[in-house]
Amino acid sequence: MRFPFKTSYDHDIRLFPDWWNFSLYAALLALAVVLPFMIDDYFLGEATSVLIWAVAGLGLMLLTGQTGQVSLGHSAFMALGCYSCVLLMEAGVPFVLAFLASGVITGIIGAVIAVPALRLHGVYLAIATLALAILADDIIVLTAEWTGGVNGKYAPPISILGVTVDRWSTPDLYYWMVLLVVVGVTLAYRNLLRAPLGRAFAAVRDSEISAQAMGIDIARTKTMAFGLSCAITGLGGALMGLFSGAFNNETFSFLLSIQLVMMIVVGGLGSIHGAFLGALVVSFLPQVLSITAGALGRGVAIPGLEAAVFGVMLIGFILFEPMGLYGRWLKIRTFLELFPFARKDMFRRQKAYLKTERLR
């Protein structure tokens, strides 16, 4: 256990509290950068997919984990990001510009959609966004002229400053490109959290009434949260569509957004680590299941098994570890740091009673 000795207010909002912490993350980044030299192309593809899931998860985490608004419609914004990026690329816009523009477009449209959605909270917002996700699927089919509808679209080749980045021929370049996006998004996210807007997000999550009393413009804060969250998720969607090579309306069905929600809950709501841990679980669960099924002599895949295992895991996490994998890690770390003085009740949940805004 180390005791940080704070000598200025800046200590409270530093990106890294001390050198030890900084060197840990620097080591992690270095490991991530040299990863292509250590593993083969198959696992590199898996690692890339983990990172892409993490980007999309960070987007939803900003909304659900930081601002406390549930969205079951983020698959719609992933689709929006993906289609806008690909359509811009087909119109001749260079990839880097098209990619950034897709994030901006998704963010703006997300914020516009958020304005009426702001009047809703809790359950209503969840249902409205779920409807949005289902509508997105149908709208992609209806606008087949641009989106290719059910037949889908093929991702155009990516070229950055004349270098072709392709999933199959240059997997390491593709990985580094995604890693760059992940590092950028993570840094932006981390910085946002220590800016006034990020503090406002947390205040709105914890209590709208007290946030209002502190002078926070709730409507503006929620709109910003929705827009930023959609922008990040849109980037994730663009990466996912380009990575899969071909995509259609089915790729971004509403089940994808439910998977996103499950991912951040299993990882741990309200923490950046949670998005990454959840992404690891989402990406590797199918592999683990198929290996297990193979070991048990069941060659054929059982339909729905993956979703069911995910469901059971999720129920287990909500019942026994509401803070997700990252929360479990925090407990283990505290136990080790304080050993032997850690007590079980240190993480006890307060007893809660529900009060509603309803009169009848």
Binding site: A131, L135, G311, K355, L359, R360
Partner: protein
Amino acid sequence: MDVLQLLISGLANGCVYGLVALGFVLIYKATEAVNFAQGDFMMLGAFMTLGLVNPEYAGIPFWLALPLVFIIMGVLGYLLDLVVLRAVFGQSQTSVIILTIALGFVIRFAVGAIWGHEPQSLRSPLAFGDIRLGGVVLGVVDLAVILVTVILTLLLWQFFQRTKIGLAMQAASQNQMAAYYMGIPVKRVQGLVWALAGIVAAVAGILYASKGAIDPNAGFIGIKAFAAAVIGGFGSLPGALMGGLIVGVIEPFAARYFPPGWSQIAPYALLILVLVFRPHGLFAQVRAKKV
């Protein structure tokens, strides 16, 4: 005549949506949580009846199987509350939403593993014949669905308005702590309402299965039922039924008179419109609390 035909079939469909929506509203009224697995409950009830009644499985007479299914689904609902949902008692609605979505996946998998993924049809005594009324063909099953739904809605509505336990359920949802002070066994009341929702889901499932084949993905009509519940106003039982009817009627008409593809969108588009302009539904009983 064409219009009338569409209307009747739309109403019958709408009643099933309305019944599932009724399940949402029941749980919402009593626990302020939303059961995203209600559609899967309905599917489970349908398959359970199918497993008891159909000759290739247990082969029990239909009317004997009926109470059995109600009891099983009721107990299941109660146990679910006892084992799973009580652990998040008093926590935010978000955790219940996520929990019930996960439950839905588990139920869908279990049903698929037990009864298979192929569409099957229930040997229901309701599913026979048509009645011809001057050019309009009415399925007996459609009439039965409409009748049962209306009766059930009226019963439940009166249950919430008049009986002591119905009122206790409403009190428990509005302020758990205050309800405790008034001597309401809040947790047991919530368990009861989950049991009730299980039974309503079973009724909906049996009616749905009488209308056509079912498969484990039938639970996805729960999403349309959501649209119904929101359009009618969450928290209002007659509203849920009305919402269901509106959604049910819009679908066939949109399919008939709009370009293809629009009929699937229509219920959700209406849902979003209602949420934007009347967030508490068309038949809302809700007023915002003034602090």
